[in-house]
């Protein structure tokens, strides 16, 4: 890991030819001159402001070095000057495609520090919104992955359905992207009365979209040919490098914090943890990661259906009942982790008995997953590099923080 870290931090690395695994290079290949191609930060496929320095031999990627920091906003340092509730809007801006999940994780961490029990109704709403947000995030991931492969239309189908989710959020808390909705100990607003019905309609409609995206994209012959057998991430490498989320599960490792370290009320619902099986090509290739996201999307719909069945509609509890007047955890520290759409999102919070956290450190899944990019993309073609990057599904706000 440290060697990889050093390599990532070097600006111009000498082109290390021998690191390509032997099986990926054709024998008797004509030796040509290497070229350094700068991909990003303003490139349509770097999903934000990532810069990749790709060392190419013709179309073959010899090495790739990600350069980060274009979206660095000093999140962790800022937190030290903020009170605990003031951190939540900052948390929103980390993974802006899955702000609910980030808030959920942060709220849980502080609640655990202070030993707050939140009402059952609040837990239901939190899990409902976390799962809706997970679908919204996967919709973007699947759509933009299609875009990277060159299919434009599924992207817009995905965004059409994401709109419905954002509408539910907007009705409930007024915001569409950055919510500040899940508070420490509660929620900013009660669920809007229309949302349950909207949600029922949405589940029905979204299942049709799921099938449509599968038809149009996932099982398209060209898409399959483009995504199989590239960017193969072996399970041992994935575990050693700390990959998580669909990236880890795509390699066939069954690890999901909703089940393996249950938080909120996830233990009440039945759901599968899809893993990559090499459905079309090899275990851990780009297709597997895409397929895991497609299946997870379906599982989230299942969870939402169960929530809709079990939701305590007659419960008139105030959602701010458990919100403490003064948030000032005792001296101590905590590491709390939740399952973000991109993987394990961990918060390390240290309290020195003040109204500000002494230290907030985020273990960002997208950052860790991105660190695997050089390992899994060496020896493939330039066109594959874009697909491999797309299959990792990074959000630069979370990578740079």
């Amino acid at each position: 890991m440290s060697e990889l870290f050093n390599r990532t931090m070097t600006t111009i690395a000498p082109a290390p030819v021998k690191i390509i695994p032997a099986e990926r290079v054709e024998p008797n290949r004509i030796k040509t001159e290497e070229m350094i191609l700068n991909v990003g930060p303003q490139h349509p496929s770097t999903h934000g402001v990532l810069r990749l320095e790709a060392v190419l031999d013709g179309e073959l990627v010899i090495d790739v070095i990600p350069h980060l920091g274009y979206l660095h906003r000093c999140f962790e340092k800022h937190c030290e000057a903020m009170t605990y509730p003031q951190v939540i809007p900052y948390v929103d801006r980390m993974d802006y495609l899955a702000a609910m999940n980030s808030e959920h994780g942060y709220a849980l961490a502080v609640e655990r520090m202070m030993g707050i029990e939140v009402p059952e109704k609040v837990e239901f709403i939190r899990v409902l919104f976390a799962e809706l947000q997970r679908i919204a995030s996967h919709l973007v991931a699947v759509g933009t992955f299609g875009l990277d492969v060159g299919a434009f239309t599924p992207f817009l189908y995905c965004f059409r359905d994401r709109e419905d989710i954002l509408e539910m959020f907007e009705k409930t808390c007024g915001a569409r992207l950055l919510y500040n909705y899940i508070w420490v100990g509660g929620l900013s607003h009660d669920l809007h009365p229309d949302v349950l019905k909207m949600c029922r309609d949405f589940v029905k409609k979204n299942r049709a979209t799921h099938a449509e995206v599968n038809n149009l994209l996932t099982f398209n012959k060209i898409f399959v040919e483009r995504t199989i057998n590239i960017g193969i991430l072996k399970p041992d490498v994935a575990i050693n490098c700390g990959a998580s989320g669909p990236m880890l599960r795509g390699s066939g490792v069954k690890w999901d914090l909703r089940r393996d370290d249950p938080y909120s009320i996830y233990d009440r619902f039945e759901f599968d943890i899809p893993v990559g099986t090499g459905k079309m090509g090899t275990v851990g290739d780009c297709f597997d990661r895409h397929w895991v996201r497609m299946l997870e999307w379906e599982q989230s719909l299942n969870i939402i259906e169960q929530i809709l069945e079990q939701y305590p509609q007659d419960d008139k509890t105030d959602v701010q009942k458990a919100v403490p007047k003064r948030i000032k955890p005792a001296i101590g520290e905590i590491y709390s982790r939740t399952e973000n759409p991109r993987g394990e999102l961990g918060y390390y919070i240290s309290s020195k008995d003040g109204i500000n956290p002494a230290r907030v450190k985020v273990r960002s899944p997208a950052f860790v997953n991105l660190s695997l990019l050089p390992i899994i993309s060496r020896g493939y073609m330039m066109a594959d590099l874009i697909i491999i990057l797309g299959s990792i599904d990074i959000v630069l706000g979370e990578v740079d923080r």
Binding site: S45, E59, D148, R226, I386
Partner: protein
Amino acid sequence: MFDGLRDLLIGLLGKGDLADVLAVVVYCALPLVVILLYALFAILAEMKLSAWLQDRLGPMRVGPWGILQPIADILKLLQKEDITPTQADKKLYNLSPFLVFIGSYLGFAVLPFSAMYAGARLNVGIFYLVAVSGLVVVGILMAGWSSNNKYSLFGAMRSVAQIVSYEIPAGLAILSVVMIAGTMDLQTISKLQEGGVQNWFIFGGPKNLAGFGGATAWALAPVMMIAFLIYFIASLAETNRVPFDIPEAESELVAGYHTEYSAMKFALFFLAEYANMLVVSAVASILFLGGWNSPFGEFLGGPVMGLVWFLGKAIFFVMVQIWIRWTLPRLRVDQLMHICWKVMIPFGMATVLLVGTIVTWFAH
């Protein structure tokens, strides 16, 4: 038709060089009018069709239902700053958009728009067309090289790799038609397919051709359908459109060979792409689907309806290309070569062999 035009101009201007020169200019510029009108239509069609495929409305602001959007776009492009990168090779950089457009436009010279109008009636028409459409790639290579941009260079290299792959299967498919027709003149090829849909080359060609009878022609039909498919796939590669838009793959190469171009030079690349789409679609309809012939024999035939049929068939294929463009993902460059060299060329060879055998066996 040229004589008629000349007589008209002589009548207006009196006998002299002026009338002759004007007649030539007007005669040659007619396809340009067709291209420009068609481009306006095709741009709008692409925007609207893609919007409908994607559950959107498309342009709605300029004119009723946004039908004036292409004009607004052209006005916008006219106003844009014409940028030449300081590090570019200026001569080549400024020349290449014109070369690309000329390559596409030259193709129109031999297209028989109707029984009355074909710009130039060459006896090597289709051969000429294949040659000049190959010229486009020279322009693309020049654009990619002179821009002095790595993405442009990538696009240009891929484009060259692509042309050597698709030209051969396309040529083989064309060859099977030429072997049945016994001519490379596109006007004669169109004339041969007169008399209804059964005489089109996709169904084995004319059933009363001297030398062999109807049964032989019908035997050719399945082979010709394969040839048509090969030509159609190769023509998608020729127009650099999805699933073969590898030279300008947006997600990888930003815009490929025309990354650095702006304003009207970019518009010329754009126009050339649409013109090229029309050329390959027109060639597909001339070679396989009867060109300007009505599918009902004499009914709805004639020179004027011929133009309608010809443009109708060509634009139908343009629409199919747009449909494919918004449905499929993009292939990788080695997969394109695999399809062209290992799938389409063997099939193309087989069609040429089969057609050749059948034609020579039964012709005498």
